[in-house]
C-alpha cells in the first residue's frame, strides 16, 4: 500500500493551509476558483482533440467511418437514450455490478477482517486465497458457465470474484498496519476485544477500507464487460459486441462513454457516502 503512504505524508503537509482556509472564508472561495481552473485545464486536451477531429471530418479531410466524430457519437448516445434502449442496458449492467460487488465486497471484508485480526486464521486462509488470487479471474469463466449456466448467476459470480481480491487484500493489510501505539492506548483503557475492534481498529482502517472498496468497484466494472462479452443480450457490454459485429463504431464509443460516466459516478458515490466517516482524516484524498 505505497499509495496510502503518500496520501498520509501529503495530508500532514496540507493540514495547516486547510485549517487556514477553513478559518478564512474569502480564501476558500479563491480555492474554489483555483479548483475550477484546474478542471478546465484537465479538460483542455480531450476537448481540443475532439474539436480538431470534428473539424477534420466536417471539412472532408477525414472520412470518420471507423473513428466517428464526436457529434455522431453523441447523436448515437442520444438516440439510444431517446428510444429507452440505453437505460435498459445501463440498468442491467448496473444491477450485475451491484450484485457482484455486494457479494464480493462482503466476502472480502469478512475474510479480510478474519485474516487481519487472527494470526492463526491468517495462516489458515491466506495462502489458499493468495493462490486463488494468482489465477486470472477470466480463467474461471468456462467453469462458472458449466456450474452456473450462461445467464445471470455466472456473470455475477465472475464480478464477485473480481471484486473480492482487492477488497480482501486492502482490508487485511489495513488491519495489519494499524498503529501499534494506538492499539496500546486501547489496552491502557482496558478495552475488550470487541471494544478494541469497534473503537480503535474499525475507525483506523476506514480510510484504507474505502480505497479497497473503490478499487474493488473499479474491477467490478472491468469484469462486467468480460462477463457480458461471454454471451448476453442486454447490457453495455452487449452494446459493445453488437457494435463490433454490426460495424457500428459510434455505438461502441457511445457504450464506452456510458461506462466512463457510470464508473466515475459510482466511484464518486462511494467517496460521497464515506466522506462523513473519514472526514477527520484529510483533504488530500479529495484530489484523487
Amino acid at each position: 500500500m505505497t499509495g496510502q503512504g503518500t496520501i498520509h505524508s501529503a495530508s500532514q503537509g496540507w493540514s495547516s493551509p486547510q485549517e487556514a482556509a477553513a478559518l478564512a472564508a474569502p480564501r476558500l472561495a479563491g480555492k474554489r476558483r483555483a479548483f475550477n481552473g484546474r478542471v478546465l485545464l484537465g479538460l483542455f486536451l480531450p476537448v481540443l482533440a475532439a474539436l480538431l477531429w470534428e473539424g477534420a471530418v466536417q471539412a472532408g479531410l477525414a472520412q470518420g467511418r471507423l473513428v466517428p466524430p464526436p457529434s455522431r457519437i453523441l447523436a448515437t448516445l442520444w438516440g439510444l437514450a431517446q428510444t429507452g434502449e440505453l437505460w435498459v442496458h445501463v440498468a442491467v449492467t448496473l444491477w450485475r455490478i451491484l450484485a457482484g460487488f455486494a457479494i464480493g465486497a462482503a466476502a472480502g471484508i469478512v475474510f479480510g477482517a478474519i485474516s487481519g485480526s487472527s494470526e492463526s486464521l491468517r495462516r489458515l486462509f491466506d495462502p489458499t486465497l493468495q493462490a486463488l488470487r494468482a489465477i486470472p479471474s477470466i480463467a474461471w469463466v468456462p467453469l462458472f458457465i458449466l456450474w452456473l449456466g450462461i445467464f445471470e448467476a455466472s456473470k455475477v459470480a465472475l464480478i464477485a470474484v473480481g471484486v473480492f481480491f482487492p477488497v480482501y487484500l486492502g482490508i487485511a493489510s489495513a488491519i495489519l498496519s494499524v498503529d501499534r501505539k494506538l492499539v496500546e492506548v486501547g489496552r491502557v483503557f482496558r478495552l475488550s476485544r470487541i471494544g478494541l475492534a469497534r473503537r480503535i481498529l474499525l475507525p483506523a482502517v476506514l480510510p484504507e477500507a474505502v480505497i479497497a472498496l473503490r478499487s474493488g468497484l473499479g474491477l467490478g466494472f472491468m469484469f462486467v464487460v468480460a462477463a457480458e462479452f461471454m454471451g448476453a443480450s442486454e447490457g453495455l457490454g452487449y452494446l459493445l459486441i453488437d457494435g463490433q459485429q454490426m460495424g457500428k463504431p459510434d455505438q461502441i464509443l457511445a457504450a464506452i462513454i456510458a461506462f466512463a460516466l457510470l464508473g466515475k459516478a459510482a466511484d464518486s458515490l462511494i467517496v460521497l457516502l464515506t466522506r462523513p466517516l473519514v472526514r477527520w482524516q484529510d483533504v488530500a484524498r479529495e484530489r484523487l
Partner: protein, 262 residues
C-alpha cells in the same frame, strides 16, 4: 502507596533491561526517574502500566498486584497518541465510557478549561500543535482520576517554552486529585521543577543508582538558588551514574549536603 519489589525484566533476546528495582512511592508523591538512554526508564514505566510483564518481582498498588493495565493507573506516552478520528473532547472522554453522559461532560469540560483548550473542543487533533496535543493527552489521562499517573518523557519533543507551560498545566491538574506521579525524564530541570524525589538510574542492566530528595516548596521558582543547587546535585549524581568506575553512589555524603542546604 505504590511498591516495586525486586523488579527485573529480561527480554526474549536475552537483554536485561532492568535488574532488582526496589522503590516505594507515597500516595500523592511525584517521583522523577532520570538517567541516560538505555537505562530502562521506559521499560520500568511499561511494567507499572501493565503493558509488559516483569520477569521477576512484583508491583503492588495499595496491596493490589499489577500485572496488566489497571483502572487506577493512567499513562501519558512520549507522543500524544490521540485518536485522529475523535474530536479533542471525545479524545479526552475516551476512558470515561463507564460514567453517565452528564458526569462525562462535566469532567471533560472541566479538563478542557484546565488545559486552556475549551475553544478547541470540537476540533480534530490534526488541527492542534504538538504542545496542545500533548495537553489533550494529559487531560485524557487525568479525567479518569487515576491513583497513579505515569508520564513517559511526555515533554521531550517540545521546545523549552512550551515545556515550561506544560509543567504548569500538569501541576495544576495534579493539585486537584493529587495522584501519585512517576515521571520519566532525561531533563534535570524538569525533574527539579516537578518532582518530590529524583531517582537516578544506571544502564546495563537498568538499575537504581541513587535517590535524591527534592524538598523544595511549591510553587517552585526556577531562578531561585535552591532550585539551581538541586539541579546541580541531580546533574552530579547523573554524571556519577554514567561513570563506569563508580559502582556505588556516595549517598551518605549527599544526604549530609542536602541537610546543609535546607
Amino acid at each position: 502507596m505504590l511498591k516495586l519489589e525486586h523488579l527485573s525484566k529480561t527480554y526474549a533476546d536475552g537483554t536485561q533491561a532492568l535488574s532488582d528495582i526496589n522503590l516505594s512511592v507515597r500516595k500523592g508523591e511525584i517521583v522523577a526517574l532520570i538517567g541516560g538512554s538505555g537505562c530502562g526508564k521506559t521499560t520500568l514505566l511499561r511494567l507499572v502500566a501493565g503493558l509488559d510483564r516483569a520477569s521477576t518481582g512484583a508491583i503492588g498498588l495499595d496491596g493490589e498486584s499489577i500485572r496488566e493495565p489497571h483502572p487506577a493507573v493512567g499513562i501519558v506516552f512520549q507522543e500524544p497518541r490521540l485518536l485522529p478520528w475523535l474530536t479533542v473532547s471525545d479524545n479526552i472522554a475516551f476512558g470515561l465510557t463507564h460514567l453517565n453522559a452528564a458526569e462525562r461532560r462535566a469532567r471533560v469540560s472541566h479538563a478542557l478549561e484546565k488545559i486552556g483548550l475549551r475553544e478547541h473542543a470540537q476540533r480534530w487533533p490534526r488541527d492542534l500543535s504538538g504542545g496542545q496535543q500533548q495537553r489533550v493527552a494529559i487531560a485524557r489521562a487525568f479525567v479518569t482520576h487515576p491513583k497513579v499517573l505515569l508520564l513517559d518523557e511526555p515533554f521531550s519533543a517540545l521546545d523549552a517554552f512550551t515545556r515550561a507551560s506544560l509543567h504548569e498545566h500538569l501541576l495544576s491538574l495534579w493539585g486537584e486529585t493529587r495522584p501519585t506521579i512517576l515521571l520519566v525524564t532525561h531533563d534535570v530541570h524538569e525533574a527539579v521543577a516537578l518532582a518530590d524525589r529524583a531517582i537516578v538510574m544506571q544502564p546495563k542492566p537498568g538499575r537504581i543508582f541513587d535517590e535524591l530528595p527534592l524538598a523544595l516548596s511549591r510553587p517552585r521558582d526556577r531562578a531561585a538558588p535552591s532550585f539551581e543547587a538541586a539541579a546541580r546535585r541531580v546533574l552530579a549524581a547523573l554524571d556519577e551514574s554514567l561513570d563506569p568506575a563508580r559502582r556505588s553512589p556516595q549517598r551518605e555524603r549527599d544526604r549530609e549536603a542536602a541537610a546543609l542546604w535546607w
